[in-house]
Every structure is written in structure tokens, then in C-alpha cells.
Symmetry: C2
Amino acid sequence: MPKISRPRSCTRCPYQYKYLNLLGNENISSIQNNCMIIHFKRGENIIKQGTDVTHAFYLAQGLVSLFIEGEKRNLILKIKKAGDYIGLQTLFGDLKYRYSVSALEDSMVCMIKSGIFLETSKKNPDFLFEIMRGISLSYNYMYKKIKDINCKQLRGRMADVLLYFSEELYHSKSFEVPMTRKEMAQFASMSMENAVRILSEYKKEGIITVEGRKITILEEEILKRISELG
Amino acid sequence: MPKISRPRSCTRCPYQYKYLNLLGNENISSIQNNCMIIHFKRGENIIKQGTDVTHAFYLAQGLVSLFIEGEKRNLILKIKKAGDYIGLQTLFGDLKYRYSVSALEDSMVCMIKSGIFLETSKKNPDFLFEIMRGISLSYNYMYKKIKDINCKQLRGRMADVLLYFSEELYHSKSFEVPMTRKEMAQFASMSMENAVRILSEYKKEGIITVEGRKITILEEEILKRISELG
DNA sequence: TATAAACATTGATACATATCAATATTATAT
DNA sequence: ATATAATATTGATATGTATCAATGTTTATA
């Protein structure tokens, strides 16, 4: 069960709540008064595909995955980390969620009622503008993701996943993957068995080392070439 | 070669330029002064993947396809019709296009310099707000598209394409597809040969009739079931 | 601590889909 | 009008990838 609390002071937010500095004090307190802080444990559902869009989310701490639930399989589109907003891209459409979000690590999330968020952003063009920038960037990410799914094959997609962890998320050639093999497979859009198989191949080929969830990239250049060639 | 001209009066735009009514006269004339009207012929490129984002587009007349160019194949993500904006989803990120847009029919496009568009929208929250709504909706469409690609197989995806033409674009069970078989294949994310094959199958099964580009849906319910079952 | 449940691994097999090939048809250009 | 290229069609084949099955390993639970 998620633990719920209320923020003490959003003005002095210790989690660097983004773009809040662009708002006046009155707007910040309006957000604060309509904000809930919720703690999720690994595996818990933050957004459930098919439900109404009611809140904007800010991931103060933790790590979550955004994924589409399909009949046959899920597809993890994106990992969101501390400091990221969640759900802004579809906040303005007044619709139902087309994706789910769940916690990969214990996470702390600020939920702001969508109405308040919309009002505030309407009153503060600079704020809204930054939101739009974020949406544009995330759109570009989506295009890349679709392109990769459409063009690359298994080895290329798994290389992308490994490089994402190494370069984007952990900034290290050695890291502990924050998910199960099944989730890695969903992130790379393939079956779990093939995900395992390809990791084993890379291991045999001396490109990476694998010990459970601990992975080290030995031959980054080769991995990048595999990613580029697809 | 695209033919270029300038708008006479955007205030009395005959093409129902969306949300312009939310702007004051001074803003409209600012847009008008920074707007070019361009005529594209079928097949011509409106936006080229990889180039800089410099303009917002409004499709006054015609029909265009938005697609991702891949090494092996292209993927048509969306058809845009008269009255649609193009390129807003990534206008605010100040980046390069991750997709291409080309004319399926002879089209007339208004190009507004991105800077002007951004300025105007910053000064007019209501306008910006409507833009955001559009982006949210189009995001939802993307999620659906990705889900379909990820989950459905050939027959289901081709059913989707046919139903899209019938229900969304032409509002008729009988229509002339605005593209080649190859493009239909790219729209349904499959090889051209399989696109043709599946159309032939549907024909043999009495679900549709096909004469060149002219297609008539005979058994809509069956097609819908194929689409749902994937 | 025992026992079940979830997760991970590897090989064998089945299947969906792309690719190749041959040919017909239509559109475009000289 | 004729040549040439683009488009469309169908069947045969190759290939990538999922699925199935068996087994080992780790994690959660009673």
C-alpha cells in the first residue's frame, strides 16, 4: 500500500521540482495545497493504463518505467528517473491513459491535480513553455524508439538497452540493471528467452560480463557498432 | 518545384486556420507577415527527417503522410488532412526533425517561422493551450500506433489501415486509397508483398472488393473483429 | 527451515513475416 | 507512340523471432 503524505513547503522543495522557480509564490502555494506525496514500493503501479487522467506527476525520488500493456506482451517505452515529470504529454487532452507506469525502485511521487496544474500553467506562460519543451523532447525520444523497433533486430535492440543503462542512466560501464530479464526483454521489445540468449551471446563474445543483474560493458565500441548496424 | 506565395489576409482565412480566433488582430497580422503559402505536388517533400526545425506548418488543403525513414524501410505513422497542424509536437524542443512529411495529394501549406509561432503562443495562453490539447491527442494516437505494431499481426494491422480510411478519413465504406501498395505497406508496417497478399486474401474471403486503388468494405464487422483480435 | 513461487538459462521446434523471383500491369518520359 | 520505369501480383524460399519444454537458480513465504 502506498504511503501518502502532504508537502511541507514546495517553495523550498528539496527535490529540485522543475520549473517551480518560474512560478510566483501564490502559484506555488496553490500547487502545494493540491499536492500529495506518495511513496511507492518496487513493482507498485503508479499509473494504470485505461484509467482517467486526473493528475500530473513529479518523480521526486526513485525510478519508474512507462510501458504499454498489450494483449500478448508489454512494451517498456521509457525509464523515468528522479527529477522527471510523468504524464504531462497527455495531461492536456483530458483523456484516459494509454500507458501504465510502475516503480522499478522504491519511489516518491508528487501528484498534482490536473486542473490545478493546467490553471497554473495557463497563468504562467514561461512555465508552460518549459513544459512544452519537455514534451517536444520526449516526442523525439518516442520517434527514435519507434524507429529502432521498426528497423533494428534483436541484437541491435539489446545493445541499445545496454548502452542506455551505461550512458544515460548510470554513466558507468558497470551497473546493476534495475529490472528483471523479462522487463529487459520488454524494454528491448523481444521475448524474455531471446533477451537472455543475447546477453549470453554478448558474454561469450567478450563484449560484456554478466553476473545476475550486474553487467559490465567491456567492448563499448563493438556494442555501439551493433547498435548502429541494427 | 513548390510554388510560393504570401497570404492576403489571415484574419479572414478561408481555410479555417485553427485557433486563430483566439488571437488578437495584432498577433494575427504578426503571423501573417511571417507566413508563406507553399503548394506541393503529390510526392514532394514538405519536411525532411534530419533537418532543423524552423517552421510550424498548417495544412490548409490536401493530404500528407508523416513517416519515419529507416535504413531498411519507412514507417508511415500518420496521415494529416486539411485543417491539421504539422510539426507542433516537436516545435518547442529546438531540435532536428525525427520524421519526414510528404504530400499524398497536391497540398497547400502555410509555413510560419517557429520563432513567431512560439512568441505568439507565449503571449496567448488560450492559444497555446489549444496547441497543447492537440499535442496530447496526437500523443495518444502514437501510443495506440505503437501498441498495434507491437501486438497485432499482419492481418490485424491491414484491417486497421482499411478501417482508418473508411472511418476516419473518408467516412465511407467505399474509397480510393490515396497511396501506392508500398505506402499502404509502410502504413501497416509490413512488406509490400504481404500488403498485396492480405488485400487479396480479404478479397477472396469476400470481406472487401479491390479494383486498383478503389476499395470497398463489404464486411465491416468481420474487419473490425480481425482488427480487435490482432 | 522447508516449500512454493518467481526468475533465469539453454536447446529444440514452430511460425510469422521478409525476401527473392517471375511476370503482369500501369504510369511516365522520350 | 514507344520505350522505360514504377507499380502490382503471386508463389517459393529463407530467416528472424516467438514459443515450448526442461532444468537450474534465486527469492519470497508459510
